[in-house]
Symmetry: C2
Subunit: 217 residues, 2 copies
């Protein structure tokens, strides 16, 4: 079967399907109609059917979708079956929060090491992950490459560390540094988590909302 | 002057202008042409001119834009002049990371308190912010309302806490709980930070990229 191209918009939408299916599974729900899934997700039935059709053929008229089968298919599209390896670069507050809160292994991602500069962290294995000096990053990746670099280092070192990750051949960078990385290879996928942009999109929307309310008087 | 409506797309774009202008100011750059700002931000000159025109009239033909004046204007659109107040609900790892890393005060946001359940946190003032029991949240907000609720509590309590925030009259919720909040008032702005979606958009894009490479052989 020819693989269908997944659009950028769908790439942003698909993880949400997985979250909703996971929640349904936790509740013990085995089948769901596209209408019910749509209502749950705040989408229309036709959007859902269109998206689900692009994942493969699962629904049977009148029977709805099997939650577990659909989850398996969506997991495949999300790359959960690919056993991606990752390194966490920056073991400070933010890095430790990710270690503590994000179940990487549950979703098929193997975090091979945490890199930091603090001598006090060395020899420790927070959440089972070895801590290494960031000065070893380049040499370590030369021996054991990683698919994903997670950048939680301070903004000042972001570009230098991104260059090391790029040269080592990572496929993607999950970037929390609030810096905009300049990579040479356009094929490396960069996903930015810009907390500043997120909070000020919120504030900007509040500001707009309040301005509208005032102008309605 | 009639206030122009700021589109949703612009609301997502404007914080990025502020970040770039701030970086220029740090470097001591006082003026910049739209062409140079565009190159820096990876946009076209005409996109920049269109966006900047909607912020007000700042550029003078041939002189470029004053970085400080433009920053002031953008700050206004982002609501930084409004002295928004916020409460942080959830003083765990993630909440503490935000406290440690996000300069709320520098951007005009007054964080009035952190709410948690851990007795060990009470009486402390991490980064100068008082810690209160989450069971006091409702009563505290009745006396001293907040504009923004920052939800970093565990997913299980997300909806209950969101309802308390909603009933207290917050204008917006910055939601880190990985739950999708169901609010009654559609006017409350919700900004979700879904780390799961972010990481798996990245993985999905890598998966797509690799599938394309294979199919090109």
């Amino acid at each position: 079967m020819k693989k269908k191209k997944v659009s950028n918009a769908a790439i942003r939408r698909i993880p949400r399907y997985y979250r909703h299916l996971e929640a349904l599974e936790r509740k013990g729900i085995a089948r769901i109609s596209s209408a019910k899934l749509a209502m749950r997700m705040g989408l229309t039935s036709s959007q859902i059917r269109h998206d689900l059709a692009s994942f493969g053929e699962f629904g049977q008229m009148g029977y709805g979708y099997s939650v577990s089968e659909l989850m398996k298919e969506v997991a495949g599209i999300l790359g959960m079956d690919n056993c991606y390896t990752a390194v966490l670069v920056g073991g400070g507050c933010l890095g430790q929060t990710l270690l503590a809160n994000f179940p990487f292994a549950r979703y098929g991602i193997h975090l091979s090491a945490v890199y930091d500069i603090a001598p006090g962290m060395m020899g420790k294995t927070p959440f089972g992950v070895a801590v290494r000096y960031v000065s070893d990053l380049e040499a370590d990746l030369a021996i054991k490459p990683a698919d994903i670099g997670i950048l939680t280092a301070p903004v000042g070192s972001a570009r230098e560390l991104a260059a090391i990750l790029e040269n080592s051949g990572v496929k993607g960078i999950w970037n929390f540094t609030n810096d905009e990385l300049k990579l040479k290879d356009p094929d490396i996928v960069v996903e930015d988590v810009h907390l500043f942009d997120s909070l000020f999109s919120l504030c900007c929307a509040i500001n707009e909302r309040d301005a509208r309310k005032v102008s309605n008087y």
